[in-house]
Symmetry: C2
Subunit: 185 residues, 2 copies
């Protein structure tokens, strides 16, 4: 028994540096990096979440550039991008997942800020290895997921820490480190 | 007693997809991502290595954009970029280090390919925590460090692995995961 793992890179609702709820722009390298990390660690689906239609079109354009061109058929990026989806909202992710898996996922928020009741990585890792169903990890761009989104999650992972209190990893780096802690060998 | 840790992001000599030794272009996001991951995990210096003068100028331009502009003084990126250096070759990194530390570093290569005698992460982590001196981690862009560079290293880390044999992490992701394995809490 083990849980399927999915991730969503959220561009809304996320925080600005000053703490406002904003919509961030897609960073094109994120599409590749997050997909490659996801594929490396066996993530089943990767959702790029943005309410802006033109931005979803940009994501779809990158997908089709790699997936629809025979020249790229045997490139490892192509295999990674095959698991990518561009969607409008976290609600849409949950609906899509429910239609595939038949049940709501175990919803896990990530954050660079410490909070009461943060779940240690070892605990989620064990859950993934021993339970049934699916877990969806939410990653916020900008200055992190909006508080409402964190509040509705079933669990929030502890922030990644290194030597001291500085933790300003790029979201690309954070995705890779979190997946390695949950699924790395 | 503990070892100081330094990293170099190498753009030459590295391999192309077909296995030739080439020089890759600087990816501007790498400058930020690698510096932010390095600062998070207490890396003392981050070297961007390229023999192309205009590319080093690009790196210096990014550094000065953040370091010389008072508007960015309290931005976490600025603190991260302060530890960055643009250099011509791995030899120059070793010379710079020798001039600062007075001794050659313990040279560690990284690779996505498994090899005989690969050093497990726990072993290097313990070395870093219990020995004296400095360790320099080399990361290759493109399709990885040239064989000669790997051969002259004192150690080569085992490749990062997730669920199966697919490991095509971006170098930005690989730097973060390796540092987390060596220095994460």
């Amino acid at each position: 028994m083990s849980m399927g793992l999915l991730i969503a890179l959220v561009h809304h609702p996320v925080l600005s540096r000053s703490g406002d709820v904003v919509t961030t722009a897609i960073t094109s390298l994120d599409i590749h990096d997050v997909a490659r990390s996801a594929r490396t660690y066996g993530v089943e689906r990767t959702y790029m979440v943005t309410p802006i239609a033109q931005q979803r079109a940009l994501v779809e354009h990158v997908f089709s550039h790699w997936l629809d061109n025979p020249v790229h058929a045997d490139h490892p990026r192509t295999e990674a991008l095959r698991r990518g989806h561009a969607v409008t909202s976290v609600e849409d992710v949950l609906e899509d997942l429910a239609s595939v898996t038949g049940a709501p996922p175990y919803l896990v928020a990530t954050s660079a800020k410490r909070g009461e009741g943060d779940m240690p990585y070892a605990e989620l890792r064990e859950k993934l290895e021993t339970r049934d169903g699916h877990a969806l990890l939410l990653f916020g761009t900008g200055w992190g997921l909006a508080h409402d989104l964190v509040a509705r999650a079933d669990a929030k992972l502890a922030p990644i820490s290194g030597e001291d209190d500085y933790n300003h990893l790029s979201v690309r780096a954070a995705v890779a480190v979190v997946l390695d802690r949950l699924r790395g060998n």
